[in-house]
Subunit: 456 residues, 2 copies
């Protein structure tokens, strides 16, 4: 056999703490503002929606936050996840670069999302919550939360964008198998849903509407809270188990990455793999490029503006300082549904603003080309979201080849594509379109933003 391909850790190596990068950031994130008064808000404003322990994590300045034993106990069902050296991909690309990938698709739900779904369910359970509501688009997040709630014997109520509900029945059935209730949104269960249905009984739904429904249920029922799968600080925090493990595994490989890459929707995937490596950059001056990869159809990092904006479409959340295309921006219907979000999480936005990380945008056709090349070389068929990271890794490997230098590239393979085969079919059949936005389109989207600018 040739040299080592796969780096495994023992379950005793599951991290004991999550890493909170805000502790090491040179410029701390700005505070959220009240949507009406535009005054900074405190943690108590979030109490109707989230349990207190998660709110504490949301605003914590501590660098390390202990992972409860009960959570680590469940992490063991799939963690530590493997780290692979992509030797076959390197051969196909004929590159001097060394390419590694961390594979999060081994979780029962098939992606990195359970890393945060499990602690979120745990803290809610601790505080007596009986029911968690959430929205889901493509279904990755809904599946993860259904899986987590089931393990703690809690009810899980999921508002799934109606068009996905109809087009992705397998995802819905997976959530049902773990005991979750899944409703096509808009539904007749909420005021928000009923209003939309009154206007348009055939509404295909949207993530914005589904969020409104899930939030309404949580806000109006004492036994229920709401849960989010990305964007917020505590969500990014929980994902840092990925990078901490990868750091140990790269040590086993005798290597440290020059470049860390991950797809970017709201930030949890990117934060998960990159923050533990960025810690070495921030605290020890280690050289490292961390690249967040977004679709060209939703380029908030590469072409958006840095200002206060709402986290949701209808404007119910606090105002957050973020790179955004505007909370009413509706991205093209690309197949990487998990990346169709108008804004970037607050921490990642500040890191980008400060030049600590980089961003890149890739068109979906390039991402599927990359995904198929990867599947043929390495075996695993990736989720469309994951293909964005692969496409950027291939770009960097090709640059390394042109420059004739060896570089070490690490990317996060955040999930498998078992529930996304129809997207591959569309790609093979030539039915996918490029979605490069014109400058006029960007300008038009940004011009609609009426929320406060960032001070200074």
């Amino acid at each position: 056999m040739s040299e080592q391909t796969k780096y495994l850790l023992d379950e005793r190596d599951i991290p004991e703490h999550w890493y909170n990068i805000t502790a090491d950031m040179p410029n701390k994130p700005l505070p959220p503002l009240h949507p009406a008064t535009h005054e900074p808000i405190g943690p108590e404003a979030l109490a109707p929606l989230f349990p207190m322990e998660l709110i504490k994590q949301e605003v914590s300045a501590e660098p390390w936050i202990e992972i409860p034993d009960e959570v680590r106990d469940i992490y063991r069902l799939w963690r530590p996840t493997p780290l692979f050296r992509a030797r076959r991909l390197e051969q196909v690309l004929d590159t001097p670069a060394k390419i590694y990938y961390k594979y999060e698709g081994v979780s029962p739900a098939g992606s990195h999302k359970p890393n945060t779904a499990v602690p979120q369910a745990y803290y809610n359970k601790q505080e007596g919550v009986k029911r968690i509501t959430t929205e889901t688009g493509a279904g990755q997040w809904g599946s993860a939360l259904a899986f987590a709630c089931n393990l703690f014997g809690m009810e899980c109520e999921i508002y799934m964008v109606k068009i996905s509900y109809e087009q992705k029945p397998y995802r819905k059935m997976m959530m049902n198998a773990w005991g979750a209730s899944v409703y096509a949104s808009p539904s007749d269960r909420t005021n928000a849903g009923r209003q939309i249905l009154a206007q348009d009984p055939d509404s295909p739904g949207s993530l914005g509407i589904a969020i409104s429904e899930a939030v309404e249920i949580a806000a109006t029922n004492d036994d229920a809270k709401y849960s989010l799968g990305s964007v917020l600080n505590h969500v990014l925090l929980h994902q840092t188990v990925i990078g901490q493990e990868a750091l140990k595994q790269m040590e086993l490989a005798g290597d440290f990455p020059d470049i860390v890459i991950a797809p970017f929707g709201g930030g949890s995937n990117f934060a998960g793999i990159s923050f533990p490596f960025l810690r070495h950059k921030l605290t020890q001056g280690k050289k490292l490029r961390a690249i967040a990869v977004e679709p060209t159809s939703c380029p908030k990092l590469t072409r958006g503006v840095f200002r206060y904006d709402f986290g949701d479409t209808v404007g119910m959340t606090p105002l957050l300082p973020m790179y955004t295309l505007g909370h009413t921006f509706v991205p093209a219907k690309i197949h990487a549904g998990g990346l169709r979000y108008h804004g970037a999480g607050v921490i990642v936005s500040q890191l980008l603003k400060d030049g600590i990380i980089e961003a890149a945008a890739v068109d979906q056709i390039e991402t599927f080309e990359a995904g198929v090349l990867f599947a043929k070389a390495e075996g695993i068929i990736p989720a469309p979201e994951a293909n964005h990271g692969i496409a950027q890794a291939i770009r960097e490997a090709q640059i390394a080849k042109e420059e004739g230098v060896s570089k070490t590239i690490l990317f996060n393979l955040c999930g498998h594509g078992n529930f996304d085969m129809a997207s591959y079919e569309a790609y093979f059949a030539g039915r996918l379109q490029k979605h490069e936005m014109t400058q006029a389109e960007i300008d038009a989207a940004v011009a609609l933003i009426d929320t406060p600018a960032i001070p200074g």
Copy 2:
């Protein structure tokens, strides 16, 4: 954290040999007979369909057969697979039994099938074969062979039962993603297919017809060979990597199973997990129950007859000494498509005849109850085939509870259910039926068998 849950091995622990149980069997399997003359046939009769190295393995009396480096190199993409202690399931069952499971769903194709698809593709490649043909029903085997052929740059031509082709488009797309050609069978590409279509243009197809098509292409094209995913000795041989790893992992757990359990279709899953443990029973007198679990709708092991029969429906293969319900028997359309096969592989049949192993039958409703219980406890949603092993493990754990004795139970979780969610939906909706065969139905099926009896 509580005690250890997951037992991992390093990639250096991937077995270096396959274990050939025939070397240790007290009664060797009887030879296959020529379908027309009923005389024993030699290996050369198989040469039109299989490469010589696989034929040698098919008839080998050596206990250990070396695994080529190129095959072990590919195994590393997912092997060694994890062994889990099912602590949460034990708790739910409130049993004194210790339950372990080996999880083969981590392979890129999602089941144990690549363990043999990879060496089969490898030996074909070595002997200059350009194209491999096969049939697939539910799609697990077709996916595995598509994955394997792609890695060796070979063409893969898959005849997929038409009704599955239409009902399981995701499986077809997965094979396409790895570059395989997939045809709905009956097709107009073969004489066999055209004959069927002439009689019935709307034929839904059957595994028997699909085998005929795949075999015809291989037999009539010099550059093509045929490949089978179960039943044959060399296929069972390749799967013994599962049990060899499990043996080491049970050692790490400081345990040895009292009972080893696996689902049973043609025998490859059961052989894979059990043969390396049975070696200790055969050569050292170690106490061990090995239980093959079949559906009540296809009970060849528990209610069939031991005699010569054809491996395929139309009667093209050599006659094999097997437990069978008759090669024309058509099992009810249960959701565990991979277990709908009329006969049992030759080695397993002889072991059952000699009382070295046991068999049990479980109805599909019990299997889905077991699968859902498992998914809720352990997280992973299993394939319908895998649910048969789980159901039997639960039965044994309940007996242990009634008897108040601790037993160690090991089962093979052969694959995940990501492509089988429609079956879970049917179960939840109450649309599944029991399929217990009456004695009259068994008698009628067996009465149709016109092939030679076993001598003596």
